[in-house]
Symmetry: C2
């Protein structure tokens, strides 16, 4: 286990600057009044490829030696990491293979291909995915970039909160959604060095609360196929992310499915921002725990905006 250091995060910031946006921070008087706090939203939905994961993926891709880069990169992900890795590989001009179940949404496959990546389909089971992915690595010699349990990825995600605190001085707290814990780990890595007094919160769907239960239990708990509208947050913690989560988090707060959908819709209706369900869990958790944030300056990471516009969770029959 190679723990990324703050120097790795600084190196990531320099390395990825040409390939990622410094995303804007937005505010909403309406939401401030609703919560009774000052909320600052870091709009990673405007990030390249539509999600903060462009940061970690770019750091991994652009940190490769020429020889390793020539063999390309590969991952298994039916979510934003696959798209973002394809984006970064496309910018460097190297091959990228993403293994995903044939049942994954067509839009996700198209997104990878849109950035020049190759999609290899597997059956929707862990066994099939691992077998197919092993074949891909053996054939290509590609570098595996894990969606979150990778020091290069965590160091890349750390740049999000480094940028955030430079844009908004004096934050009392930062809140980000937690799935595998890559963004939260990066946040811990950055803030524990730069602003240790900022309280770091994570938000999780109540129906996929394995990280909250892990923190309570003192060891990683992995759920088998949790069901939640926040489909980016189903994956479990791994050793690297657990290292950061167990040390630095103030709390992991949870929100129910209907609360997540209400929060998502609020960001669309009041802030005019297209956000994805996984991203809305943070606001949902804040709305559910108003007392905790009363009168405080709270940074909220809007993690992504890649959503199926034909199947919005508040539409009937979806």
């Amino acid at each position: 286990m190679q723990i990324p250091t703050f120097d790795d995060a600084l190196a990531a910031q320099r390395r990825i600057a040409p390939y990622v946006h410094e995303t804007p921070v937005m505010t909403s008087r309406f939401l401030d009044d609703l919560v009774g706090a000052e909320l600052f939203f870091k709009c990673e939905n405007f990030q390249r490829a539509g999600a903060f994961k462009a940061r970690g993926a770019s750091n991994a891709v652009f940190g490769l030696t020429e020889a390793a880069a020539a063999r390309g990169v590969a991952t298994h992900s039916s979510g934003n990491h696959g798209t973002c890795l394809a984006y970064a590989a496309g910018r460097r001009g190297i091959p990228c293979t993403v293994v995903m179940p044939h049942s994954a949404p067509q839009a996700k496959k198209d997104a990878v291909r849109g950035y020049g990546g190759r999609v290899v389909e597997c059956e929707p089971s862990t066994t099939s995915r691992e077998a197919v992915f092993a074949e891909v690595l053996a054939e290509t010699g590609a570098e595996f970039v894990h969606p979150y349990n990778d020091p290069r990825v965590i160091a890349g995600q750390a740049t999000c909160s480094m940028e955030f605190i430079a844009q908004v001085p004096g934050l009392d707290a930062i809140m980000a959604p937690i799935g595998g814990g890559g963004l939260v780990s990066g946040t811990c890595l950055a803030l524990s060095h730069l602003e240790p007094e900022i309280a770091i919160y994570a938000a999780e769907p109540a129906q996929a609360d394995d990280a909250a239960r892990s923190l309570a239990a003192g060891h990683i708990i992995a759920d088998d196929a949790p069901v939640t509208v926040a489909d980016g947050l189903k994956v479990p913690l791994k050793d690297l992310t657990w290292h950061f989560v167990r040390q630095h988090l103030r709390a992991i707060l949870t929100a129910e499915e209907d609360e997540i959908i209400v929060a998502m819709r609020l960001t669309w209706a009041r802030m005019k921002l297209v956000t994805e369900p996984s991203c809305a869990v943070s606001l949902a958790a804040i709305l559910k725990n108003r007392a905790e944030f009363q009168g405080r300056r709270v940074g909220v990471v809007l993690t992504g905006g890649n959503v199926d516009l034909d199947r919005l969770p508040w539409m009937k029959g979806v």
Copy 2:
């Protein structure tokens, strides 16, 4: 007919500064490649009350004498002007009455009330609206603020392009949707003084192309109840807006209904911006007339983001 002057626009800029946002300008590499131009999107969907009309409404409201302000303001509008006038009146703490048909969407009525305005309902006919509105004015002594044929409103809308050209130097063209022509007139007012070499284009639904036909005919043509998804663009030109439109426009380009919906969806999917159909006509017209904009720096005003999230135009059965 009192034509607003550039001094009026300068005064408006100072007057409304505390009540409106300097909205950000966003870009999209994807859309640039699609069009073959450099597009700059002025995000008035992030404006107070969700539309550029907060500018004109604020200028009208905050320009009133204390005595006139005490009697309040009134308008007839089932669209953004009603909401924005209620917003501005709420900021000044004066009464605002908005006459709209009882058939108007509940969300529009709620939006006016949400800012402290009063909704008075009429039948969905011009006769009823005029009768009810005359009663409101007689009862309250309120100041009528027309949605666009008002020099205070046009001077207020002019601040949008003044801000835009300060944010993005060297624009070759600016494109805005045209309904009654308030925003386009403000754009003409500002740019004819500040940057007369910038070509001003307007975009209009082909199914409500009265402004394009007016320009071709040399006199105002008003349509009776045109049908278009761009519901903010159904109203005709009036004498003040005709004054500007006939003098300064390079062209009025039109787009079909399906082209408007495709353009709207592109801004949602690729830019992660919630925009309303009326707002998407500009991009639709640019996509339809790529040759006209090839290699140029084009400013596009995204006019508003107030849309019914339960009834998006690309959803089946809507």
